[in-house]
Symmetry: C2
Subunit: 284 residues, 2 copies
């Protein structure tokens, strides 16, 4: 039976640490503040926003929501973004994307100030991940995976890691972050031949294929740690599932993140951590 790498324990530890950091900042007169820039009311955005609000409240980070109507003019949108970029009382900006079609989303991404890019979507944030410097912030999901490995003391240096997926929000950044910790990383993707041989050869497998329950027993071996980044609704099973077939993987491997209750919840805490770090970078 595998050890369950529960996100909850990681979140609790992060909350404790962040609460202290926020207290210290507030003692200096600084209130770490997240600005949320949302256009319209997409259910996914609202759901993530609720999670962020709750997590911020738990540690004392303030949130200002800038909710613009679905039909906001492009000019008004960019005025608001500009205001958020230049407001020194706002330390991090979460800009929900995709934006409505009449707003140039790529322009918005490029204009977002990297210093406040707590969601890790700007080019400079990604350059920072690639070069291992603090140019902005890492994509939250990638850092959440790293935070879980760190919290549960999973050794990385000299270990073989197979990453399945090469997206800019998780696969590619987590591969770089693992390499910065001296892991030997192989990035698998849709064109990779014989993925299961590669994953079976690894000490750690990070699954971010975006394909629900696509990694089963034949991809895994005993002794491994598995980080499952996927989360999708399974109509047949009538529950949330990851990219790993949990019931097949769990009896084989040493440790695995559950879905739900694994990476997902930690991601929001990383967003909050970035807001606090941003305030620290400016003020300490």
């Amino acid at each position: 039976m595998a050890k369950l790498l529960k996100g909850k324990d990681v979140v609790e530890a992060l909350n404790e640490k962040l609460s202290k950091d926020v207290e210290e900042l507030k003692a200096k007169g600084i209130t770490p503040t997240l600005g949320i820039l949302r256009v319209g009311e997409r259910p996914d955005d609202l759901s993530y926003e609720r999670g962020a609000l709750k997590r911020c409240e738990q540690v004392g980070v303030e949130v200002k929501v800038f909710a613009l109507p679905e039909d906001v003019s492009e000019e008004d949108f960019f005025d608001t973004l500009d205001k958020l970029n230049n407001d020194i009382t706002i330390h991090g900006i979460l800009m929900f994307r995709p934006l409505p079609k009449h707003i140039d989303g790529e322009k918005a991404r490029k204009l977002l100030c990297a210093d406040k890019d707590v969601d890790g979507c700007t080019d400079l944030s990604l350059a920072g991940v690639f070069t291992n410097t603090n140019l902005g912030f890492a994509p939250c999901t990638a850092e959440a995976a790293m935070e879980i490995l760190k919290f549960y003391d999973v050794a990385l240096s000299g270990k073989k890691v197979a990453v399945i997926g090469r997206s800019l929000v998780i696969g590619r950044p987590v591969a770089m972050m693992l390499m910065h910790e001296n892991a030997t990383v192989t990035i698998c993707h849709t064109k990779t031949v014989d993925v299961s041989t590669i994953t079976k050869d690894a000490d750690i497998v990070v699954v971010a294929s975006g394909q629900m329950e696509s990694v089963g027993a034949d991809y895994l071996k005993e002794g491994q740690t598995v980080i499952d980044v996927g989360i999708s609704w399974n109509d047949k099973k009538n529950k949330l599932c990851g990219d790993v077939i949990f019931d097949e993987a769990e009896p084989i491997v040493d440790a695995i993140t559950p879905v739900p209750g694994g990476v997902g919840g930690v991601t929001t805490s990383i967003l909050v951590k970035h807001v606090v770090e941003s305030a620290q970078r400016v003020h300490i």
Copy 2:
């Protein structure tokens, strides 16, 4: 006996293509121009500069050399960099580094305009390599390795590639560029355990360990393509050597770049290619 992947043939093909591109630009009144910013007269810089001048001349790219004295003031240096950044008749800037200690090299790298960063050293250039977009230009050596593979029709999609080395000038960028071409890449480095097992399992091995003659017969198997990025003077053998033990590798593998005569010469051509591309991006 392995096929020799000679740089010379790649350079000739590039020269032919670039000459045509330059002609087309000149017909529109545009002369692609490289600005070289050099402080002092370090032999390495001068040698690379001579190579660049020659290669530019061959295809009709103009070069303006801004040679500043070793003791130039920091202010004058940054004024010159600013001038180069803002001069619309200069399409690419080669800024020799490291700069003397009294000039902030990191500041210079950050101020260099990414649009003209034909040497691929700015954060935006590196972000472009990571995200596979044209934000600047790839580091020349990494692109030279890719150009050789392309010229000699080495299949990449679905192939396993082992990259030895994780520097920002070659290992990391070439790994990303190979992945963008759908190769399955493993990045090996000083903390990697059992590198030879990983390289033996690969179809293509890119060696940029920075350790002269560190990769021999026990790292290789038949059928492989080997790109040797290293170049160092071997005192014992009294000749230039790569990071691969050529005499051991050549009888085993299918194809290999010689040293000298492999990647090195192509690198300068990529620099010139970037200058032409920069002029095209602005004017076409």
